[in-house]
Amino acid sequence: MAEPGTPLQGAPTPSAASEDVLRVEHIGKRFGPVTALKDVNLHLKKGEVLGLLGDNGAGKSTLIKILCGFQKPDTGRMFLRGEPYEPKSVDDARAKGIETVYQDLALIDELSVFHNLFLRKERVHKPLPLLANRQMKREARTALDEIGINIPRIDVAVARLSGGQRQAIAVARTVNSDADIILLDEPLAAMGAKEGAMILDLVARLKEEGRVSIIMILHNYVHVLEACDRVSMIQDGAIALDKPTAETSVEELTDIVVNEYKRARMANHEDTAPAT
């Protein structure tokens, strides 16, 4: 393990545990010969915004996919509001209040904005199985207004929107649901500064409301310190650091990564050099 601190390697303290909405203990996941996650411990408090950091391939996206029910962990336990949590599918996780916005943007290009917002939650004219498009348009407009996203037309295909607008709609889709835990997988990827600011504003507004708890994968340390209450860093499939953002700095975060990089290089040398 990297030197600059592994303050939270075991379970969280009992006082903290009581207010956790989501707690993850000793999660491991392998894909054939590749170990994506070794031993991950993570907790999320109500109304908290947790930043998840880590290099490419460190296991962030795998962790998110396990949390949202898309993949199953090989080992470990998860707790949702104190109850054991074993999602059988994305639908199951969603029914339990966990929604995800994916890195690869699960928006459907050919569908309109409002159909995307309501995908798998469509309103229909009961008892007929026909889509209630007007109702969905109206509700979509209200939902977007409420969280302050300005999309001029909601009946156009999302293919015609900008990256920022698409991301905003993807976030809105989760907020629009009854989710109380939202997972954002690199919400600022491939986005201009202005559009990124729009998404961070949105996250800030959600934090103010305090209704939802958010785990957000980010790459930019400045964004993490700006938008998150706490930061967890994954290295080599385990949590290497877990601190409130107020107690850490860009320098400390950078140091951890640099040290890890040096250690990995050393390890590589040891592996290959004495081979003769």
Binding site: R94, L111, R153
Partner: protein, 376 residues
Amino acid sequence: MASVTQGSPSPSPASGGGGLVSTDAKPSPARQVLERLVSLREGSIIVVAIVVAVYFAINTSSFLTGENFKTLLPYFAPLAILGAGEVFVMILGEIDLSIAAMYLFAPIVFFKLDSAGLGLVPSVLLALIACMAVGVVNGAFVSIVGVSSFVTTLGMLFTFEGLSLIIAKGQPNPTPGAQVHQTTVQVHHIVNGHNIVLPEKVNHIGTFAKIFGGGVYSELIWAIVIVLALQVVLTFTRWGLYTVAIGSNKIGAAEAGVKVKLVTIRNFVLCALTAGLVGIFEAVRSQTIQPDPSGPNEILLLAIAGAVIGGTLLSGGSGTVVGALIGALFLGILKDGLILQGVQANYLLFYTGLAIVVAMTANVYVGRARRGSGSG
């Protein structure tokens, strides 16, 4: 059904149909109609079909007659029904080549079951269920095993065409329930005030045959009902929405919780069902069950051509059932018109091929205009 009229005016969930909403200047009504037409996914093929129809109406006196309409029907009604099922598979980004085999297989199963004494309607239903089972296999291979749909259905095409030949032992058979009965009736004539009774022969076909393709307009009615019903399913139900979603972004749809395997299998079942149904209609109409794959294979390719020129993308994510009907109508008008014009039989395929390329080119340009015009 109220939602059909109050919902989005466009026939596709993706197109939104709001092309007219934002125009603040008032264009002439003709221009509005044109813009509206262009904003439709089927717009270009409607224009092309009308142009071709007008051309033949001007150039041949017999084109615009009721009699000719009747000869036109068998060209396009089967293609429209086949296309309707195929569109559901094509929007997924897949293709079903095995429809030609279902077209051949269903009537042969129907004949065998009827010969075994099951009765007409139960035999038809079981034959169609057999086709649907093949659809399940197609869908399962594509969505669960992960074999490409082209390869899967190509294999099933040969397998079931071969199986049809084996079952029929290569022999044509009379279609059960479709035979024409001639009866002699005494008709009263009044000639010069005298009542004269003369015998006359009258052809009868049974109710079963009238319903299942034997009646003059039977296939047309089936085609219209099936196309409209499936268009409603595509545009106004979750099934249709998920079909478009999978074709547009399969992973995204799965991550959102759409049951990709279920929808894929269901669409292949639907496609196989429509193909089996058309096979039975055509067998009843022609009164014989020919175990010859060449006809079905040509119809397969024409049905796909009709769907594609009707505005359905081979790459998936977009398509319309009504478009496939109009595409089929276009192919029908073309063939019928060329024959009426006295074009040599040897030239028919050649002209059909050129027309498909021209219609597709028109589609591409109109599609660009549509995307540029600001309507989704």
